[in-house]
């Protein structure tokens, strides 16, 4: 008898869990979907979006599956947001977003699932560069074009992807050097001997290689690169390296930090050494990435300039998709627009920064 009661209880418990267990995944999305649809409808004015028509319109939407790395940094989050705001129904898109939690195997699963959902385009921001041949081949066989965002893939056959979208690190380096030369001219120091040190990123990272190369190619004759060392893209390491630079070289005019975090570290080191930096100070600080904190630092008068590494790939990818939809072709490498933000503009721009 006891057994019977128990089994009835268990069955009830099981049924309950089934409801909640699956309910989480199935019933909850409904309100989320309508929530998202609502602003989209508002954005499309005058068009009556009756339910029946909506269903018909669903077929006309370009379905894009985005296999994102994860949400490990502000840059990444801004990148995700840019896709979520660009690929909305008002623009004729439906976005299926997948966060891979920094795992390649999750991205492979997501791409397979996108193929089964018959998306029109797959956008992939690969976690790693390696191991994509098999699954991209599957996408190709299903006739779905793959657009890479941010990082490249290492595949034998480059027809496996349509194109790559990302920042041009070499140009960022060139822009930084270009800004410095202009700045020195306006300061009347164009003929002066300028001593520069560089805090490099993690050696071998494409941002490090490109930025170092770009800056070196635009060095003026009067400039001397005293030293380059890696600060591994971190604030603490950047500070450490800058401290040793300051001890070693008494006369540093410019420090180039290959990302904002290292620049923050360098600024701390400069101040700790009793020197000043920024537009009013002894040392010119040049940085890359242009995160929001960099603008705050410029407003505080510590940093001179930051060169953008634009995470807002969404609009660019959308352009590419429109070109492909129109039957056009695109180059294999597509850069996003990137700006140079000197300190004097910081106060005006900080409000618009998304990241």
């Amino acid at each position: 008898m006891k057994r019977k009661v128990l089994s009835v209880l268990l069955s009830a418990a099981m049924a309950a869990t089934l409801m909640t267990g699956c309910g989480q995944a199935t019933s909850e999305p409904a309100p989320a979907a309508t929530e998202e649809a609502a602003p989209a409808e508002e954005a499309a004015p005058a068009e009556e979006a009756a339910p029946a028509e909506e269903a018909a319109a669903e077929g006309d939407l370009i379905v894009v599956g985005y296999a994102q790395v994860g949400a490990e940094s502000d840059w990444r989050t801004a990148n995700t947001e840019s896709f979520k705001t660009e690929f909305v129904e008002a623009n004729g898109y439906k976005l299926i977003f997948d966060d891979a939690q920094q795992k390649q195997e999750n991205q492979i699963k997501a791409i397979r699932s996108f193929i089964q959902q018959e998306v029109d385009y797959i956008v992939l921001a690969p976690v790693v560069e390696t191991g994509w041949d098999t699954v991209l081949q599957e996408a190709k066989e299903a006739g779905i074009p793959v657009i890479l965002s941010d990082r490249m893939v290492d595949v034998a056959d480059d027809s496996l992807y349509e194109c790559w979208v990302g920042g041009n690190f070499v140009k960022e380096g060139e822009d930084a050097a270009g800004w410095l030369s202009e700045y020195l001219t306006t300061q009347g120091r164009a003929d002066e001997a300028i001593n520069i040190v560089t805090l490099q990123g993690t050696i071998g990272a494409s941002a490090q290689v490109g930025r170092t190369e770009g800056f070196a190619s635009k060095m003026a004759d009067t400039w001397t690169m005293l030293d380059m060392q890696t600060g591994e893209f971190t604030q603490s390491k950047g500070q450490e390296v800058m401290e040793s630079f300051l001890k070693q070289y008494p006369d540093i005019d410019v420090v180039v930090a290959e990302n904002d975090n290292m620049a923050f570290g360098a600024i701390d080191a400069i101040k700790a050494a009793g020197k000043t930096c920024g537009p009013e100070g002894d040392v010119i600080v040049i940085s890359f990435d242009a995160v929001k904190a960099a603008f705050e630092s410029m407003i505080a008068g510590d940093m001179n300039v930051t060169v953008e590494c634009n995470p807002l790939h969404g609009p660019r990818v959308s352009e590419i998709i429109q070109t492909l939809e129109g039957g056009g072709t695109v180059d294999k490498v597509m850069y996003v627009d990137e700006g140079v933000f000197p300190a004097e503009t910081a106060a005006d721009i900080i409000g618009e920064r998304a990241y």
Binding site: G21, I96, D98, Q117, T130, A142, G143
Partner: protein, 338 residues
């Protein structure tokens, strides 16, 4: 008769897992039917993407039945992938010798862990924790680069599609897509069946259950507990490397961060499949369904398209809690009968 009744509870747990999987899948077909959830390929993808995990979960089940645990498997998978990639790409070793070598490494790894657990009487958790750090560390020592496998033989294994003649569909672009699997799926299922038979019908398999049920009485029954445990860990090391090989067929690359948390997915799959962490109870087919349930949840979230993928973890947590409670209820009921 008594024996039959005793089995009932465990069979019931397994049945719940299987029913749960099918119910979830059917719900998926109803909710996401228009989006293509009911395609044969979606089902097959569960196996394609999880071939490695099926083998790892199977071997984890054996270890759990003895009352042990192995949290080193994720790192062993990463090390396996790295050794394969490094040997084939940087040293020019052929695919077959490279695979044989990693399987051998797996055996040795299992032998060492097994010796420490069985003969030195050290807690399996601690031994395999050390193993986890060691294997992950070795992966980084071999190379901190990401290595892409381009070996033609290996890629031909990885990309050899086995098509099914039926169940195909014409996609939006007018391309006929027949359902397919990769050889890794077939291999994983064969391993599963072999282990199932081994556990059920061999002396070795029955001693594993006996040891896990009650080590003391197994000893009194004259079973060689230490040797059986050693064998289990050797087998487990081998299967971890083998699962790593199948995993590598899916990712075709080696890098340090690979397969992080894989051991926990294997343990979760086994528990959802009805394996008791206290030992003595478990079924490898249950673990297979545990893996499939995890895969189904992931597919759900992906098809839904806007929900955070972290909901997978939360749902698994809910399922785990449910099954653990269920198990303890059963254990209590059993005690009362005694």
């Amino acid at each position: 008769m008594k024996k039959l009744k005793k089995m009932e509870g465990n069979q019931f747990l397994l049945a719940i897992t299987i029913i749960l999987f099918f119910v979830m899948y059917i719900i998926g077909m109803i909710v996401f039917g228009e989006k293509g959830f009911s395609k044969t390929q979606v089902f097959l993808n569960l196996f394609i993407s999880n071939a490695g995990l099926i083998v790892i979960a199977t071997s984890m089940t054996i270890v759990l039945i003895t009352g042990g645990i192995d949290i080193s498997v994720g790192s062993v998978v990463a090390m396996t992938c790295m050794i394969l990639a490094y040997m084939m790409e940087n040293k020019g070793v052929g695919a077959v010798p490279a695979v044989l070598f990693v399987l051998f490494i797996g055996l040795v790894f299992g032998l060492v862990q097994g010796f420490l657990v069985a003969y030195m009487k050290i807690q399996p958790f601690i031994v395999t924790l050390a193993g986890m750090f060691f294997a992950r560390g070795m992966t980084a020592i071999i190379s901190t680069d990401m290595i892409s496998i381009k070996n033609e033989t290996f890629l031909s294994w990885a990309q050899a599609k086995m098509y099914f003649p039926i169940g195909g569909y014409v996609n939006k672009k007018g391309i006929i897509v027949n359902p397919y699997i990769y050889p890794s799926v077939l291999i994983a299922l064969i391993v599963l069946v072999i282990i199932f038979i081994m556990l059920k019908y061999t002396k070795f398999g029955r001693s594993i259950y006996a040891i896990g049920g009650n080590e003391q009485s197994a000893l009194l029954m004259g079973l060689n507990v230490r040797r059986t445990k050693l064998k289990v860990y050797i087998l487990n090391g081998f299967l971890a490397a083998f699962g790593g090989f199948l995993f590598c067929l899916n990712t075709c690359s080696g890098f340090v961060e690979q397969a992080k948390g894989f051991e926990m997915e294997a343990i979760a799959s086994a528990v959802i499949g009805g394996t008791l962490l206290t030992g003595g109870v478990g079924n490898v087919f249950g673990s297979l369904f545990g893996v499939l349930i995890k895969g189904t949840i992931e597919t759900f979230i992906n098809f839904q398209g806007t929900l955070s993928s972290w909901w997978t973890k939360i749902t698994i947590a809910a399922l785990l809690a449910f099954f653990i409670i269920l198990q303890s209820v059963f254990a209590k009921a059993k005690e009362k009968k005694k």
